[in-house]
């Protein structure tokens, strides 16, 4: 006999859609409603059956596996703890505690997505709002360097385009949607207007927009591939709207300029508040990558790239970030939690993970686990484990499991490891 559980949170992406209806029969999800294809993949592909841990691919007991983890971490001079984007904040907190105890470096997948947005936030501040405000108030929505049609599929219907809110009762008819990108993405097709910026020229376009909004002259012609007349029109729309929001993506953070691009967006948005209400929300990718930033910041003072190797937290983007550490060969053991760096890192950095002992905690098989020394198959928060995750607008949501848990959680395993390792 099946049971339908309403208002379930999907942890696949930073949308954290919390309206799913999940039909469960025994230990299997059989049907889902109000879900995108990524949500279907997450809920239907996860098998909660307990799996034994493995050392070098050989099944072992949990005691043997934990003993090997402790041996590796105690023997390491420069351990790295990395990932954390797809685990719960309770486990993220334990990971920071373990880094503190080991004198390790701890970094999250933020360093490969919106780390530069964090740097910009520290430099100029972040004028932001919640997705509820976007849904209920925004009449001008700009997507800059992001493609939610393929990465955050229900963002349009739940928050930003067709969603109907208090002051946007007609949904899309009450909003103007603009997409700015270097190529006409799937998201551009739903926009009222698409502005194609030349690759690597976002900063120039943003600076010209700031000038135009202040009423300063900009030489006729084009900036960053866009006619100044188009930018003038956009500046006018931004000043005239009732409530505007810019959603920014990795088109700004992963290209030349990085944090400087995002800083220019934050400054532009702050200045627009002299004329109207305007906000910015980074489109965060993994389900709880925002939580990783939050937990790191309130535990260490910094959102990512933190080293405890001197006994206190030190911040070092470019120094303690994962790609830099691995590429320079400065890590001699790695604990990877709920992430797959072998799939995401530049190969020149990922290669290092094949040369050092790696420990993987993950509910799913990963490329990183294929060459890891120790693999610990864990429960999946939001499916068979309870926990907390932060939506992309930093609103924390409680994850209620829909399946019975038979596997250990990241939090439980990290607790066992913390108790067993030698303090540095």
């Amino acid at each position: 006999m099946s049971t339908v559980i309403e208002n379930v949170v999907c942890t696949f992406c930073g949308n954290l859609c919390d309206d799913l209806a999940v039909e469960v029969e025994g230990q299997q999800v059989v049907k889902l409603r109000k879900v995108c294809s990524n949500g279907v993949g997450l809920f239907k592909e996860y098998d909660p059956t307990p799996l034994p841990p493995a050392i070098d691919g050989e099944k072992v007991t949990w005691e043997e596996a934990i003993a090997e983890v402790v041996r590796i971490l105690d023997g390491s001079d420069s351990p790295l703890i990395y990932g954390l984007a797809s685990t719960a904040s309770e486990a993220q907190r334990k990971a920071v505690a373990l880094a503190d105890r080991l004198g390790a470096t701890i970094d999250t997948t933020s360093s490969l997505c919106h780390g530069p947005s964090g740097l910009a936030m520290q430099a100029v501040g972040e004028p932001t709002c919640t997705l509820g405000e976007v849904r209920n108030r925004a009449d001008l929505v700009i997507f800059w360097g992001c493609n939610p049609a393929e990465s955050h599929m229900r963002h349009f219907s739940r928050y930003s385009v067709t969603a109907k809110g208090t002051l946007t009762p007609a949904g899309k008819r009450d909003r103007t949607v603009i997409v700015v990108d270097v190529r006409p993405t799937a998201s551009a097709r739903v926009a009222d207007r698409f502005l194609q910026v030349a690759p690597g020229k976002d900063y120039e376009v943003l600076t010209a927009l700031r000038a135009l909004i202040r009423g300063k002259p900009v030489a006729p012609g084009s900036v960053g591939g866009l006619p100044v007349s188009q930018l003038q029109e956009l500046a006018g729309q931004m000043k005239a709207c009732r409530f505007g929001v810019i959603h920014i993506g990795m088109g700004l953070t992963q290209t030349g300029g990085r944090d400087v691009n995002v800083g220019e967006v934050f400054t532009l948005v702050a200045e627009l508040n002299q004329y109207t209400r305007f906000s910015v929300i980074p489109m965060r990718g993994h389900g709880n990558v925002t939580g990783a930033d939050q937990v790191m910041a309130w535990q260490t003072g910094y959102p990512f790239a933190v080293s405890f190797n001197r006994g206190y937290p030190r911040y070092g983007p470019g120094e303690f970030t994962t790609v830099d550490l691995l590429a320079r060969g400065e890590v001699d053991a790695a604990l990877i939690i709920a992430s797959d760096p072998a799939a995401h890192l530049p190969r020149v950095a990922a290669r290092r993970l094949e040369q050092i002992p790696v420990i993987v905690l993950d509910p799913f098989p990963t490329l990183t686990a294929e060459t890891a020394r120790v693999v610990l198959p864990t429960a999946c928060y939001g499916l068979d484990a309870a926990g907390t995750a932060y939506r992309m607008d930093s609103v924390p949501l409680r994850l209620r499991p829909v399946l019975s848990r038979q596997r250990p959680t990241d939090e439980e395993l990290l607790d066992r490891i913390i108790e067993a390792v030698q303090p540095c």
Binding site: N38, G41, S111, L112, N147, E150, S151, V348
Partner: protein, 110 residues
């Protein structure tokens, strides 16, 4: 003939769907091992849909099938994944972030 292009990597729906079948699956390999190009650029290089093209940077080289995409001339798009990551260097300019987007790459028909 070797021509310079600007490479953009990013998420695709197919890559997302294949992800759930496992990153070790054939579906994931197929979804991430391709390059999209402007149709006129393909003609200039003498490349047809599905032909292999070699893409190289200082970091590495990869040969992947080409597919016509809605892209401006001079731009390539590859889904994020192990194939694209062979081309991305480790320079992060003090931020921790490599150049996943906007790298100059060399392309030639195989």
């Amino acid at each position: 003939l070797s021509v310079e292009f600007t490479l953009i990597t990013g998420r695709t729906r197919a890559q997302g769907d294949a992800l759930h079948r496992g990153r070790t699956s054939e579906a994931y390999r197929r979804a991430t091992r391709l390059v999209e190009m402007n149709g006129e650029d393909m003609s200039d290089l003498g490349v047809e849909e599905g032909d292999l093209v070699s893409i190289s940077t200082l970091a590495g080289q990869v040969a992947v099938p080409a597919r016509k995409g809605d892209l401006p001339r001079g731009m390539l798009f590859m889904p994020m994944g192990p194939a694209a990551n062979l081309l991305v260097g480790d320079e992060t300019r003090g931020t921790g972030m490599p150049s996943y987007k906007g790298q100059t790459v060399k392309v030639e028909a195989v």
